[in-house]
Structure formats: C-alpha cells, structure tokens
C-alpha cells in the first residue's frame, strides 16, 4: 500500500467513526432527554441518626477485618453527601471500604423552615459531636478520623479545634480558612453592600438556587460549555453517566439555614475570623493550634470555589507534627470524585491514612 492509499484509508476510517458517533449522538441524545434522574449511591448503608437536617449513616463494611480507627465524613452544608458515593467505580466510600476502613457519613437534608435558627454552634458543638458519640457506641473507639469537604472541612476543623481529643486524624478536602482569598465571594458579600440579616429575615433559609446562582455567576460559561461537551461525547456512555451524576449533584444544591448563613458571612467573610484566631462558637473561642492530630489537606490547583490560597494556611494554623498538603490538578469537585480522584488522590489517602488507623 502506498503512503497516499494509507492516508486515504485513514480518512475513510475517521469519516466512518464520526458518522457512527453522529448517529449514536442522536439516538442517545433522545434517551438522555427522556431519562429519569441518574440513580446515586453504590454502597449499602444504615441510618444511625436522623434529626431534622442531620442524617448520619454507617456504611456496611465489605471486608471482615477493618482498621481500628473509624472514619467519619462531613459533607458540605450546601451539598448532598452522595458525592462521596456516586456509583460503583466512582465512589470514595466504596474505595475506602474495600481498603478496610469503617466509613460513616454525616449528610444534610434541606433544613426545614423551623430550622432556620440553626447556627454554627449547632453544627460544630451538637451535630458533629452527636455523630462521633454514636461512632463510639457502635465501634467502641473513642477517636475517629474526620474527613471534611469544602465547608464540611471547615466545620470538621473548627470541631477539632474545640474538641481535639475526639479526632485521631484530620483529612481536609478543598477546605477554606482564609476567606480574604475568596475574592469574588468576599466582594459580593461585602459588609458595605450585603444586608445579610435583611435577606435572612425575608427568606428564612437561604434557597439552594441562590447558592447555585452565585456559583454560576462565578463561572457563567461552564454550564453551556458542559452541555456542548456533553453533546460531543453523547456517544460515550461512561461520559454521559458521569455527566448526569455530577449534574444531578450540582442541581441538588441545598438551602442553607438562615442563622448559619448569617454567622458564616459575618464571622468568616467579613471578619476572616479563622485566620485571626477570633472565631467564637457557642461562647468558646476556637483555637486551631490545639490540633495536634495528623492533618492531610488536599487542594485543587484550579479550584474556582475555594482557591488554593484560601486553603493553604491550614498548614500554619494547626500544631500537628505531621501535616501534609497535596496539590492536585483539577477543580473543586475533582478532589473528591472523577478520574483524577480515582487514580491519584484516593490511593494517596490510603497510603497516608492506613498506618495512622491501626
């Protein structure tokens, strides 16, 4: 075969592939538009605690011999915890269970109207300790590894600062502490223009759409570009499934309890209290230097929600001998789910945590 024939054959092959994909796009595109919500949740679990917005689960171990120290995940208050357990092969929980950890999850439901008065103290001094107490009852262990993502990480960190004796290891994913570095959120929520009390007074709980629209303004082209990429990849079942899982998760952004929203705005956004060591919760000043447990902080290089400099100071605030920061490529969600998490981040966690969980 001459060079010219080979080139012609290659062009023909590519044309055939693209025609096949174009046909598949149309067939699968129709399926996509008419299909129900993508089911989520791969691993079997039992509810241990349910109290209003709080749901606390224990995942059933999949090995007979687990690590001594249990692991408790704290979800971000604005999002559902199933991001940790999207589907088989895309589930951090599944990975951890298979590696021998006993996994618990603090998940949040939309706060009811009568829960608009829940504040930081309820989350840090009531919900998290109540869940850790249940873990003690179930496992007999007095400490646990606490893993928090985004604001779930901030809550975990604040809890560890107030009750360090309950935390064996601290794992933080994209956890903001220096709110001065969250430039756009800080500007939009500026004390000069943002009447947070009036908003909370008018709405009670802050609707999920309000939170979602703030993320959309931050990256207005993402949604449209995401749809265009989806259309291009509509022939690829794995891509479509993954898109639908993440799309469902983002669309189900939770409302936020009014008082909690007001307190976090004033304390974190306006006063940057964590960095100044001035956070007071339930009358107690939070001293993060009391944290001596090993800390692993995982941050994403291109995170537009919690930029790297907003999470980086964790390393200086805690007093742990063993503290490590891993910076990974990708965005805000890629630290907990997606191909980079599966292949790089989760194995690193296991390597770091295994020897600290015996």
């Amino acid at each position: 075969m001459t060079g010219g024939d080979a080139a012609q054959e290659e062009i023909n092959r590519r044309v055939r592939v693209e025609i096949d994909r174009a046909v598949l796009r149309n067939i699968k595109g129709l399926e996509f538009l008419t299909s129900p919500k993508q089911p989520v949740g791969a691993m079997a679990k039992d509810t241990l605690l349910r109290r209003g917005t709080l749901q606390f689960y224990r995942y059933r171990p999949v090995v007979n011999d687990v690590y001594r120290i249990p692991l408790v995940i704290v979800s971000p208050t604005s999002n559902r915890g199933y991001v940790f357990d999207l589907a088989r092969g895309q589930s951090l929980v599944e990975f951890l269970l298979q590696r021998g950890y006993e996994v618990f999850l603090i998940d949040w439901l939309p706060p009811r109207r009568d829960e608009s008065g829940l504040g930081l103290a309820d989350y840090v001094l009531d919900f998290i300790p109540a869940c850790l107490a249940r873990v003690r009852e179930v496992t007999g262990e007095s400490t646990a590894t606490v893993l928090g993502y985004c604001m779930g990480g901030t809550l975990a960190l604040l809890h560890a600062g107030l009750q360090p004796e309950t935390v064996e290891n601290l794992l933080l994913f994209a956890t903001p502490v220096d709110f001065e570095q969250m430039a756009l959120f800080r500007l939009w929520g500026s004390e000069k223009y943002f009447d947070v009390d009036r908003l909370v007074d008018a709405l009670g709980n802050i609707p999920g759409e309000f939170i979602l629209s703030a993320f959309d303004i931050l990256r207005p082209a993402n949604r449209t570009a995401g749809m265009l990429h989806l259309w291009t990849n509509m022939w690829n079942d794995d891509y479509v499934k993954s898109y639908r899982l993440f799309d469902r998760w983002a669309a189900e952004t939770l409302p936020i309890a009014g008082k909690y929203f007001s307190e976090t705005t004033k304390s974190f956004m306006w006063r940057n209290s964590i960095m100044k060591g001035e956070t007071v919760i339930g009358g107690h000043r939070v001293d993060l230097s009391r944290i001596t447990a090993p800390v692993l902080s995982i941050v994403a290089q291109h995170d537009h929600v919690v930029p790297l400099p907003a999470a980086h100071p964790i390393m200086d605030l805690v007093n742990s001998k063993e503290r490590e920061e891993i910076v990974v490529k990708g965005g805000h969600v890629s630290v907990v789910a997606g191909p980079a998490a599966v292949t790089r981040i989760w194995p690193s966690i296991d390597q770091w945590l295994g020897k600290k969980s015996v």
């Binding site: 171990p61 011999d65 007999g140 500007l187 009036r198 908003l199 990429h229 020897k355």
Partner: protein, 114 residues
Amino acid sequence: MADVPFDPIATWQKLVSDWEKQINEVSARVTGTEEYSRVMNQTTKFTAAARQHFDRQMEEFLKTVHLPSKADMAAIHDRLAAIEDAIEQLRLALDRDKRGAAPPVSRNRKPQAP
C-alpha cells in the same frame, strides 16, 4: 515534521474550551468590581423586600377567602417532617436495641506492604 491529521471534533472541543475560558475571564472582570457588587446586592435587597411584601399581601388575601396560605402549608409540612423524624428516631432506637453495640467485624487490620 509528522503530519497531524485534521480532527474536526478535537478542533471543536478546543474552540468550546477557549470560548468557555474567555467568557469566564470577561465575566470575572465585570463581576469583580465594587459597582457590580453594589448593584447585585441592591437588586437582591429589592427582590427580597418585594417578595416579603407580596407574601404578606397574599397571606391577607388567603385569610380573607378562608384558604390556607403558603406559610400554613409550610407549617403543616414542618409538623409532618417533625413527626416523621420522631418515628424514625423510634425505629432507630428499636434497631439499636436489636443489634446491640458490639462491632460486627474485627478491628485488627494493618496496612499492607506497598
């Protein structure tokens, strides 16, 4: 230099990614100003005030025509949710008594050598 065959799909995807980046950059410049923050918050304030006013008017109207308002329905929803919660807590307590507190698995795992 080796010939790179023309790939229209890859070109299209790059075009979309570049467009996405450009729009996001332009938007960040527009929304990252004091003026934008002022206008956005002013709009939010008016919207919240208008909504509060409308809710109050609607509440009055529904009261007059003896129909339940959104607030009444929300109160019933909260009450039902609280009852559901209480039932769930009873169920969990019963489950707990049944299962006991003993850990169902041994807890002696050691990390495997890499």
